[in-house]
Amino acid sequence: MIALSPLLETRELTLHHGTREVLAGFSCTIDRGELLGISGPNGCGKTTLLKALVGIHQQTSGTIRRQPPARNPGYVPQHAPIDRNFPLTASEFLAINCQSRIPWIGGIPRKLRHGICGKLDCLGISHLATRPLGTLSGGELQRVRIAAALLEDPALLLLDEPSSHLDPAATASLKQLLLHLHQEHPLTLVVVSHDEPFIDGLATRRISLAAPSLAVA
């Protein structure tokens, strides 16, 4: 069991989406090894908060203090519709997510093969390696995206609405996968979702954001 100590802290965080304030004065601490669920209705600032934690959305005011292991987190953005004809296989998708300087001209570079195959194997999706992304089901695609986010073995994994667009069976399977990753790996997880039943039974702690900007920890 991993001892609880802060991995990431926010203090008096205020966030805007465009000109609209979506979160004001938000403070929280994310401890090592926890599985934090952030829920709330649409428009309450969940996604903006997650982007700020990842470092791709600049806060209007307040601070985000990241301990060194949290400075390069794994991130699975909200499901974006991909071009079903985009000619990229699952393993090629992992290859373009590698932050290695090894040149890539399609396929899997020899030096990356071990890491990519290992990660696909770890998530039980080795059989999807040569499948084009466009032929994957929603659940399969989500697993591939999680494998890509875990490529660099991050200490922190942040997922935005991971169960959206999934059927009940795929949602249950994803929940089991996240629980497995949390139990078997030294991984801190932050899951943002408006799907209350999904967060229930998954998160070890939960923060509910109220529309538009009041946070209840």
Binding site: V54, G55, P77, T89, W104
Partner: protein, 275 residues
């Protein structure tokens, strides 16, 4: 005259070298023009290059300079590409709409300028190109362009692919999708400027879009797409030039028709595989 004998002439050899240099460059750019839905953008840049030539004539007339028209087209195409990118981020209009009015507006301006300058006869060369007028200076420019495009793709292929598929994920990986988009647009603009002489404004877009479109139909992974597009881009110009010389037909359209045939073959392969 025998085909091999024809290639003993400088103009034929220059045309062949131009085709072999520009074909793969256009094809590899075309991979991302296709994937990023920028086919209309590249076509619009090619058409708008007419205005760059016309503006160059005006500047030369006023100043007495005698600069190569390619320089004016290069500057104009790059400014137009940057302008369209800038507008698409700031105007509440779709990228297609912005491309449409920028392209039609600049072509209209170009035709008026050509009319004012009394250079109507120049229009045919601009629209359809004249690959046989390529000289060593043109080939040098094409080789420099090929080297720049090669360097760009060797270093930026991975981030560009990720930014094309999922810009937000790319940002989280430290990629700057907007900057990459601008650099890529400038490369397309530079290719249009350098390639205008080869195929002309009307047909150049085909050299960019068609090899990747054909390869995309037949491939299920990125490696297949890239390799297929480059191969088609490399083969179509020599085949088109040879067909044109043998049958005494215009060269640009022959190269485009080779691409059309390749696209049809790829579609047949796709249908056979699907069934």
């Amino acid at each position: 005259m025998h085909l091999i004998e024809l290639f003993r002439h400088d103009f034929m050899r220059h045309a062949l070298i131009s085709g072999i240099l520009l074909g793969p460059v256009c094809a590899v750019l075309g991979v991302f023009v296709n994937l990023r839905g920028m086919a209309f953008f590249s076509d619009a840049l090619a058409h708008s290059a007419i205005t760059g030539v016309a503006l160059g004539f005006m500047v030369d007339t006023w100043t007495g300079w005698q600069l190569d028209p390619t320089i004016y087209v290069l500057i104009f195409s790059c400014m137009l590409a940057l302008g369209m990118g800038w507008m698409s981020q700031r105007m509440p209009l779709s990228r297609d709409t912005i491309t449409a009015f920028t392209f039609t507006g600049s072509v209209a301006l170009g035709v008026i300028l050509i009319s004012l300058l009394g250079k109507h006869r120049m229009l045919e060369g601009l629209l359809f190109g004249s690959i046989y007028s390529n000289g060593p200076a043109d080939i040098a420019r094409q080789a420099i362009l090929a080297a720049i495009v090669l360097l760009f793709f060797l270093t930026q292929l991975r981030p560009l692919t990720l930014a094309t598929l999922d810009p937000e994920l790319a940002r989280a990986r430290g990629v700057r999708p907007a900057l990459l988009h601008y650099v890529f647009s400038l490369l397309v603009a530079a290719t249009v400027a350098v390639g205008l002489k080869m195929l002309g404004a009307l047909l150049l877009g085909a050299l960019i879009v068609m090899p990747a479109a054909a390869a995309r139909i037949a491939s299920t992974n990125f490696r297949g797409l890239a390799a297929g597009a480059i191969l088609l881009g490399l083969l179509a110009p020599p085949i088109g030039i040879a067909a044109s010389a043998s049958l005494n037909l215009p060269t640009g359209p022959c190269i485009v028709l080779v691409h059309v045939a390749a696209l049809a073959v790829c579609q047949i392969i796709h249908l056979v595989r699907s069934s």
